[in-house]
Amino acid sequence: MSVSGAVLRRTRYNDLTARHKEWVLGYAMLVPAFLFIIGLIAYPAAWAIYLSFTDKVIGQTEKFIGFQNYVWLTQWPNFGRMIWNTVLLAVVGVALKAFIGMTMALALNEQFHGRTVIRALLFLPWTVPAFVAGLIWRWMYDDQNGLFNWALLGLGVIGEPISWLGTTTWAMPAVMSVVVWKGFPFFAIAYLAGMQAIPSEQYEAAEVDGASAWQRFLYITLPGLRHVMLITCMLSLIWTANTFDLVFIMTRGGPSNATEVFTMLIYDQGIRNGRIGEASTAAMMAMPIFAALIIILTKYLQDKDEERV
């Protein structure tokens, strides 16, 4: 840039009013965040959508093939089962996490000795890396050397070892139990925080009016937590539907395809076979549902903000 050009630009900038200078600076400050959003969210998402319409294989130039991958996916032998498993894991898993989380939060909202320690311990499953949790639980469920069979056989509850991860009856409940174990602290902590924000006067007034504990829960606690419950359930629904690591470590989708979820197909086609087009398609299949959930959640949060204003 020439010296005169720089001087001219400097002069033009100096001619701006203070309000406009603030405006320019404000937008300039947004640039890094904007670049991050484009680079790390918008671009990869748009690229993934595009790839799902191509025959992209790692290291090779892709060709646009329209909806061929989508047709291919619907004809996948386990397509129906994969949808069912994913929905089952997400819906039942979230319901159980919410129920256990609520129970824990109610208990920990009471005054008793050691409450602080127990609250801290409650975080533990949430903090254990999924990989480690998967390995530990896999060992506990092991049919030959596992803790559960050892205990149940020792207590005489069962006569022979149960193949927890090797039968269609037990595999999904076994995986789901770990998903729930790992996820319920998130709910418990969120609900506990929500409960503490409910004014105690409401409970005192209800007690004076003769409301039972169940009625206080039903008419004060639950309505007071409905916003927290909606947010936690929606977020968890998205996270749980995307569960990969626990399923991969514990069953790899087996026995047969009893625990096969979408993320397993994405891994096999994308990582093991390098067929990124097909893997993107599998990832995109659930996107409309997740997008709808995210839109509802964002709109809800915006409405809440407006209410506060």
Binding site: R138, G166, S256
Partner: protein, 448 residues
Amino acid sequence: MSTTTMGTTTRRAVTRRTLLKTVGVGLGAISLAPLLSACGMIPGMGGDKLTVWTDATFAPPSDDYQTEEINKWAKSKNVEVEVTREGGDAVQQKLQAATESKQLPDISQVNDGRYTLFYPSGIFSDVSDLYAELGKAWGGYYKPAEMLATKEGKQYMLPYSLDSNLMLYRKDILDAGGVKEMPKTWDELFDVAKKLQTPPNIYGIGFQFNKAGTDAEDTFRLMMLSYGARVVNEDGKMGNVKSPEMLAFLTKLKASWDMGIYPPGVTGWDNAANNTSLQDEKTIFIHNPASPLVWFRTNKPDMLPKIGVGSVPAGPKGQFNTAYIRDGWAIMKTGNEKRMDLSKELMRHLYSKEVYRKWMELAFPAPAVTGMEDLEIWKNPQRKGFLEAVKTGILLGYPGPPTPAYSEFNTRAPLISAAARMAVEGWSPEQALEELAKTAEDVFSKYK
């Protein structure tokens, strides 16, 4: 902020605007860096440093020794080398990202599957000259190594070790049961397993009936071939999958399940579970590489002599052993001639007599080169079996050459899936055959 001029320090007030500008420029630079790097404007795998991506194996002492030797070489050449060693599919995942972003390491360890998968992307440099030079120094390569490494008459990888899966069995239990040697046929194997097992303490056979246990795909493939069934023809194109031979194989597999010779949990086993079942003395026969022998040597040395090693049983139409490259090296097309030359130097060091022989003694596969048969380890009949097997082993894709199509077919674990369908869901062999044929059609139709 402070500035020093001619020994005097002047303090300047920091305005809000100056601070905001500085932070803004800083954040902008940080946010642009990855983008610039991704666009190749900043060198990714930097400067003169050599980057080596390797796999963690089931024999950690051999891994440690190799890393130590690489570092020793680097020091002697005054070169900076970064060696990363990771387990599972980590190297493969990193290579995918590296291939797409063109930020390749200098050297990557490749097994035959990875080599077949990435070869079409053209990331491997032609090492035919070095391949020939190293091969000459060692008296040549074993046939399977040569066949796997050679693509259209050239070599783009340097095979380092060959491996095979053999039958590992409890010799002591066979001896006690009056069985003198490893059963020769599948029928004999199933009968002996039934006769000698004492469930629920010890079951006959530890083959995985679950996709997480990929060893079994190899096992069932060999069994399938021994029944005369084929997925592909000699040209590597899809053959007649729905053949009477394939049905006979599946029928036999189902019959073996119905005999109750597998631990009930095999339907949920992963790739380590067959190893641990033998190591924990819970099964009589497994089909595996030599890794459990390494484990016994370290953890239960008294059990080691009780473990027998034998060939895979024969079927009505023959007997097959497998061979595959477990460890190999690829020098990447980074475009940096200096680093590519250094990579070749490093390869010469790893293939030197002293380093390669010592590594082989610590590792569990067989070498890819022929000049190591005098090693002490091959006097051990347990290890010798593996060396003999790799010499004549068949490659993935048999009777055709290794192809990306067969690799993808194999990745889907179609034979394990068929076995699991019959064992877990009670499918008939005919139903399993139908699905197997559909899977083959789905995969091979993409590669026409």
